[in-house]
């Protein structure tokens, strides 16, 4: 099936968005290795099709909640390099004035209610955002991103129950990357994750999280249904993280093999998969895709330089924003 112009642009946009995330993470990792970034951070590389496929089905007024592995969600929902790198480096121009850091990036203007350093901690927030939409009779939809590990948190079942009882416009997006920290999903999840959602009367779907077009198609469908009051929904997206649990998790053969890692990187990379498709459909040539990559890399490098030279918050900020004054 020959793609029409609209789809061509859209597919290129998917490609660019995924590339932006990958490039962002490569730079963040390098900042860590160069000891220029305070603390640790969790890389989204490998999972780009999940965030991009879903967020491209959303509009700006739709909301998302994100996780400790949140850079991808944040970029996919519209964030820019400068403010993100500034936040990662604790600079005042960051999305949270340097107060949140990697694990708490929020981008209110684009509808990102924030990353969360408590696994599963944003499930209530996401569901509450959907409740707000319903109370306001708005047709905004909220997407709650979380990992397979977060399915062990009881909070998820509490809020899915209420979302189902009250038919809230929310989509629970479980990024199943096979691991929570250093433990495989089989070791921590009995039964079936999809069946758990279904047992609460929630329609649930499994999708290849490396295929951005498949993800986007399913997400677009469900978002439209949720807008019409037919939510909630649940999606399990099968994916993989390329790096360690965090940037410092270098020696990981004791919990997963190099072979497995290589297999995903070589054969199931979401950017490559879309790239091959674009080439085979004649939408973009290899050179064009390379050009996209290098443009974005330059933008990222500029942003890194900008962030490295940006100012830290003034020390007087330390006790600002504990409370909002009226």
């Amino acid at each position: 099936m020959k793609k029409n112009k609209h789809n061509t642009e859209f597919y290129l946009r998917l490609y660019k968005q995924m590339t932006k995330i990958r490039v962002f993470e490569d730079n963040a990792n390098q900042l860590y290795l160069d000891a220029k970034m305070p603390g640790l951070t969790h890389m989204y590389s490998g999972e780009e099709a999940v965030a991009v496929g879903i967020c491209e089905a959303l509009r700006i007024s739709d909301k998302i909640t994100s996780t400790h592995r949140g850079h991808g969600h944040c970029m996919a929902k519209g964030a820019n390099f400068n403010q993100m790198f500034c936040e990662l480096l604790g600079k005042v121009e960051g999305y949270c004035r340097g107060k949140g850091g990697s694990m708490h990036i929020a981008d209110q203007a684009n509808g990102n209610l924030g990353a969360n350093a408590i696994v599963g901690g944003s499930m209530g927030i996401a569901t509450g955002s959907a409740l707000r939409a319903k109370l306001q009779k708005s047709d905004d939809v909220t997407v709650c991103f979380f990992g397979d590990g977060a399915t062990a948190q009881g909070l998820m079942y509490e809020v899915m129950n209420m979302a189902a009882l009250w038919q809230l416009p929310i989509i629970y997006a479980c990024e199943n990357n096979g691991y929570s920290e250093y433990t495989t999903t089989e070791e921590i999840a009995a039964g079936s994750i999809l069946e758990r959602a279904r047992a609460f009367g929630i329609e649930a779907f499994n999708v290849d999280g490396q295929d951005v077009i498949a993800v986007n198609k399913l997400a677009s469908d469900l978002v439209e249904k949720a807008r019409k009051g037919k939510g909630p929904f649940f999606i399990e997206l099968m994916t993989y993280r390329y790096h360690g649990h965090h940037v410092g998790d270098i020696n990981r053969t004791y919990y997963r093999s190099k072979k497995e890692e290589l297999d995903w990187k070589n054969n199931r990379d979401p950017i490559q998969i879309l790239g091959s498709f674009l080439e085979s459909e004649g939408i973009a040539s290899d050179a064009e895709l390379m050009e996209i990559h290098s443009t974005i890399s330059r933008e990222a490098k500029d942003a890194v330089d900008y962030a490295l030279n940006a100012a830290y918050p003034d020390t007087s900020e330390v006790d600002l924003h504990v409370f909002q004054e009226v």
Partner: protein, 331 residues
Amino acid sequence: MPEITLSQAVNQAIAEEMRRDSNVFLIGEDVAEAGTPFKVTSGLVEEFSTERVIDTPISEPGFMGLAVGAAMTGSRPIVDLMFGDFLFLVMDQLCNQAAKIHYMSGGKLNVPLVLRTNLGATRRSAAQHSQSLHALVAHVPGLKVAMPSSAYEAKGLLKTAIRDNNPVVIFEDKLMYQDKAFVPDEEYLLPFGEAAILKEGRDVTLIGTSSMRQVCERAAILLDKDGINAEVIDPRTIVPLDENTILNSVKKTSRAVVVDEGHQNFGTTAEIASRISEKAFYYLDAPVIRMGAMDVPIPFSPVLEDLTVPTAERVAENARKIVSGELVHAL
């Protein structure tokens, strides 16, 4: 000025604010038709419908989380937590999320929610339904903590809480729901961080939060009979705490007894007493006396339970001792 119960005062505050602002809604277990086990919210669902008076499953962490998310996106939820003891279930959503979101987002997001719950023992409800846990939330930056001591405060502080743009935890004394007080006909709000001087005095300052305000007032009457003139102060909110009113009083009286129904150890009396001892150091004629609940889980048996909470008699006795120079604890 009509005399109404604390329960009616809370009900009025919620109804008035719900009428004023369509973003306000109420959520909790059995808050709608049942009007809560204490019948505090009766009638609200009839006026505001089940859209804004929302009965939940028994999922305290869950509906607390929902409220945080709704508040972040424009609502002003009032969460009804049936017993203060259930705070332990919602601590993550309250303290790791609600309390920190404004700060972590560099001031971009905020969480205007009110968590209404209660405190107070001697209701024969045993260890898991009798705790006064306000000191725990007061320790967490980003939360305000209000402790109404009568129907008058309950209404005025709750209305202020609902209009505050930050998460506020308000503790009602569950033994006081049927107690009456005069309340103005006109609308009124009580500011946070302003203590009330309920009785002026010159010999000793009695500081009592929530349920312990009445205990201090009764103690003051007992002391009057002995010719001891006590000043009685109700802080009304413990975060923010009106340090000035307390310190000014102690500078005048040179003596203080701090009375609170939370456990004494690592509790509210420690914070207030240590601030007085530090900041009014040169004015004190005697050690500041702390009287919290005993540091034991609340026992069921009435003969034991009644021992755990400060009484007017014991407050008066301690005040007498420090006024007469006979010390209570000092070694």
